[in-house]
């Protein structure tokens, strides 16, 4: 009897605990914001100082603690808003972010937190992130005017329910080096040694790789040249897609593009073009022209190899900025290759905005002030503050009106690289921030001369239109995360297997058939709907 009672009491206890832990999530609605505290416009933003708790992703390249960095201390004085930064390193970012979102114990906003687009929509619909349309209309004049100037950006950041949930990162669309970010690079001195020109067709590219392997262009017997090496095989595929007539809507879409008929969305990993490209890459791999362990190489090992100067070509950010060792300056930007059927386009471009910048949560008591706080960075002065810092302290203007970091940053006495030196004062290194990127103010790897030169070479062959990431309704998203995720995983795995020769290309038909059985039709219906919604947005 008593044991039974004890059991019942225990069960009740468990239930009470369960009920308690549920309470805190029901009182999410923030109190009405005191708008009188806001100034009319400009800086400061509020009369009485307020505090914000912001969750921020910490990229390896950025400062450890943004609470101690010049820019944010300066901006606090300018705005009267004190931000408490909660820094979360990238290694555990998705886990920590998801746990914060699932626990209901939310910060006021997320900054640079790499939130995937479907998640932004999911939590937007659930009410965790608040819609920003009205806030932008009333309290974000700078972003508002940018969106009016570039309606395609507004289209891209608007979700199927008509709401905007995040402050985007916008690239100056003319700044091509940034929109490419990674590109093809060839060893210039080896071209000379081999008496060759920069390859312009896929055949010439093959000839070059072959010559690097056999011709010992380094002139050093102890160096075993690797004709092509990169952190993964994907870069090479991005480079080659345009030469085989696929991927015509940019690198944001790794599986779909626009069918040549101009109307329907095409799933290109089952096309003959894709097969031909895989065949070509398999040939390269099979003949040892691609680094053998490209499928399992770690970034550290890649950069260590790069430092020894063994790579004849790569697909990366500018080697002059990132490679260690003496050969970093020997690379020149590659050209767009013409494929076997005359296709020639460079597809590795991203849409000039991304949705993953800055979201405001439902627990934020000052959404209007937060919007104003963020909006400043879409202005010229804001971009200057964010990327260059403070005149006299971190940058100076040269005679011809260009911006330049001060000597201490450019040529650091302690031997720090530019990014490392900048990170002591500013927080842009590492990327993924919200705001606007303009060529004048941006001095990162993509803003350097070598990157710009390389981008200029590719620019004439840029695809005409780039699609942003599509947004899906909740129901569509359920399919995309189950059937869609399986399909994409299968394609990625099989692509690597075909290239490495682990699965022979004679299995191609089985591969296509498997994809169809996995629900490809359903997947494509959703993509088609999403595309049409994007068109009519």
């Amino acid at each position: 009897m008593k044991l039974k009672k004890l059991f019942i009491v225990l069960m009740l206890l468990v239930l009470i605990l369960a009920a308690c832990s549920n309470n805190n999530s029901s009182s999410d609605a923030a109190e009405e914001e005191d708008l009188d505290n806001l100034t009319d416009s400009g800086l400061p933003i509020v009369e009485e100082p307020i505090e914000l708790d912001i969750f921020a992703g910490k990229a390896p390249a950025t400062a450890d603690d943004w609470n101690d960095v010049l820019i944010w201390n300066e901006y606090e004085e300018m705005t009267n808003i004190n931000v408490n930064w909660d820094m979360v390193p990238h290694e555990g970012l998705s886990e920590k972010r998801n746990l914060a979102l699932a626990s209901g114990d939310l910060p006021d906003a997320f900054h640079s937190a790499l939130i995937p687009v479907p998640d932004i929509f999911k939590y937007g619909q659930q009410g965790t992130f608040i819609p920003l349309n009205d806030l932008i209309e009333e309290h974000a004049p700078n972003l508002k005017s940018i969106l009016e100037e570039y309606p395609e950006v507004e289209k891209a950041i608007t979700f199927p329910d008509g709401n905007i949930y995040s402050f985007p990162l916008i690239y100056d669309p003319e700044f091509s080096a940034l929109r490419i970010s990674e590109g093809p690079w060839i060893r210039e001195d080896w071209l000379e040694a081999l008496n060759m020109d920069v390859p312009e067709t896929t055949d010439e590219f093959y000839e070059y790789l072959k010559a690097v392997k056999e011709g010992n262009p380094s002139g050093d017997e102890s160096i075993e040249e690797i004709p092509f090496g990169a952190q993964s095989i994907n870069g090479l595929l991005t480079y080659l897609k345009g030469s085989f007539g696929i991927g015509n809507k940019g690198k944001g879409h790794r599986f779909i593009d626009l069918d040549p008929d101009g109307e329907t969305v095409r799933f290109y990993p089952t096309t003959e073009n894709y097969k031909e490209m895989i065949e070509y890459v398999h040939k390269l791999y099979d003949e040892g022209l691609i680094e053998e362990n490209i499928f399992s190489i770690s970034p550290e090992q890649f950069y260590a190899n790069a430092g020894e100067g063994v790579y004849g070509s790569t697909y990366n950010h500018s080697p002059a900025e990132l490679f260690p060792g003496e050969h970093r300056d020997s690379f020149t930007g590659g050209l767009t290759l013409e494929g076997p059927h005359g296709d020639k386009a460079f597809t590795g471009i991203s849409f000039p905005s991304s949705t993953t910048g800055f979201v405001i949560t439902s627990q934020n008591e000052n959404p209007a002030a937060t919007a104003r706080w963020m909006d400043y960075f879409y202005s010229d002065e804001g971009a200057e503050l964010f990327f260059m810092g403070i005149e006299g302290e971190t940058f100076e203007k040269t005679e011809d009106g260009e911006y330049e970091y001060v000597e201490e940053i450019r040529d650091n006495p302690d031997g720090l690289t530019l990014d490392q030196a900048v990170a002591q004062y500013l927080t842009w290194p590492g990327g993924q921030y919200p705001g606007i990127l303009m060529e004048d103010y941006f001095k990162g790897a993509e803003g350097t001369e070598s990157s710009k030169e390389a981008a200029e070479k590719l620019e004439p062959d840029f695809i005409e239109e780039v699609w942003p990431s599509f947004t899906y309704t909740e129901e569509e998203n359920n399919t995309m995360t189950s059937v869609g995720a399986d399909i994409e995983k299968y394609v990625t795995e099989m692509t690597d297997q075909f290239i490495s020769g682990q699965t022979p290309l004679s299995e191609w038909d089985t591969y296509v058939e498997t994809l169809e059985n996995m629900g490809l039709e359903q997947y494509m219906e959703i993509q088609q709907d999403a595309y049409e919604r994007y068109l009519s947005n």
Partner: protein, 314 residues
């Protein structure tokens, strides 16, 4: 209970005895308290969260407030293209590890035969040491040693006239590398319990056997092994209880697109969908499925052990 007074009395008297026992040995029960609290707070109470496996979990609604969806998440998992591959890989990998269960026993028996001296101490320390290395370091070492071009193993193979093998990207090698590197790491540590059990063997038995002319092998077979058999059975059952729970961090670190054919297991799948993609309900459903299998296996094996050897967990 009123209908069966005899039973009620026996219940009551048993309870009384229990109370008396507690009063008498209350100090021992205080020692027990932290463990009970730990398991209640961290293992039993959180179980109410398992319900999200049958719900569509919304952070804003909380666990109890989210809508019920029944077995949707389970059927989605069973219908997934990768379902059979995940099950197959998980089971094969687990079985492979299980087959090597006798290794630490054999090693412990061997260590036990050594005289207490520097050699024994050294062998123990050397075999324990890898246990303290973190998984990341172990995988880093594997990557370095097994690299097709710069790795030492492939250097040996090529210098002996073979051609280099890309161990880390071939599905055929994944299981061997995973299991044997795991053995290397845990072998010494795994012997500790057995050595403790062996030290409890009465030396008189050995002396008597020696006088009777038993050889060393015979003494191991007929004295040492029977002496540690209960320990072996209990550890074996406990092992079965975590049959499907493979050390997933190591698998995840060793995984790439080329070996996914054999390295994709339930746990890495849960990690990817649950934590990285934030589909908590789906991940909870798979996790629950996993636990149910483990529990079933545990009960079955325990039952068999009880019937056949009189050694069991309960």
């Amino acid at each position: 209970m009123a209908k069966n007074p005899a039973r009620a009395i026996s219940m009551n008297s048993r309870l009384d005895r229990f109370k008396k026992n507690v009063l008498l040995n209350w100090r021992l029960y205080v020692f027990l308290l932290p463990a009970i609290l730990y398991f209640t707070i961290f293992h039993y109470i959180p179980m109410y969260g398992v319900q999200i496996a049958f719900k569509d979990f919304y952070a804003t609604e909380g666990i109890t407030g989210s809508p019920w969806v029944g077995f949707d998440h389970f059927s989605r998992f069973f219908d997934s293209y990768y379902f059979w591959r995940l099950i197959k890989n998980t089971i094969i990998l687990s079985l492979y590890q299980l087959i090597l269960f006798p290794l630490p026993i054999i090693f412990a028996l061997m260590l036990n035969e050594l005289k207490n001296g520097p050699f024994k101490k050294w062998s123990q320390t050397l075999t324990y040491a890898p246990h303290f290395m973190s998984v990341v370091v172990i995988v880093g070492m594997l990557v370095a040693f097994l690299d097709p071009i710069t790795g030492i193993i492939n250097h040996v193979i090529t210098s002996l006239g073979g051609s280099s093998i890309s161990f880390l990207t071939s599905p055929e090698w994944f299981r061997h590398i995973f299991v044997w590197s795991g053995q290397w790491q845990t072998l010494g540590w795994g012997t500790i319990i057995y050595l403790a059990a062996l030290s409890g063997v009465n030396p008189e038995l050995h002396e008597a056997a020696k006088i009777d002319g038993a050889s060393r092998i015979q003494r191991i077979l007929h004295i040492n092994i029977p002496a540690i058999l209960p320990t072996i059975v209990v550890l074996f059952i406990l092992n079965i209880g975590s049959f499907m729970a493979i050390g997933f961090e190591k698998v995840l670190l060793m995984q790439n697109n080329l070996n996914a054919e054999t390295s994709d297991i339930i746990q890495t799948f849960v990690y990817q969908t649950g934590l990285l993609e934030g589909q908590y309900s789906f991940a909870a459903a798979i996790g629950l499925f996993d636990s149910v299998i483990n529990l079933t296996l545990l009960v079955i094996v325990n039952q068999i052990a009880r019937k056949t050897s009189e050694n069991s967990l309960w």
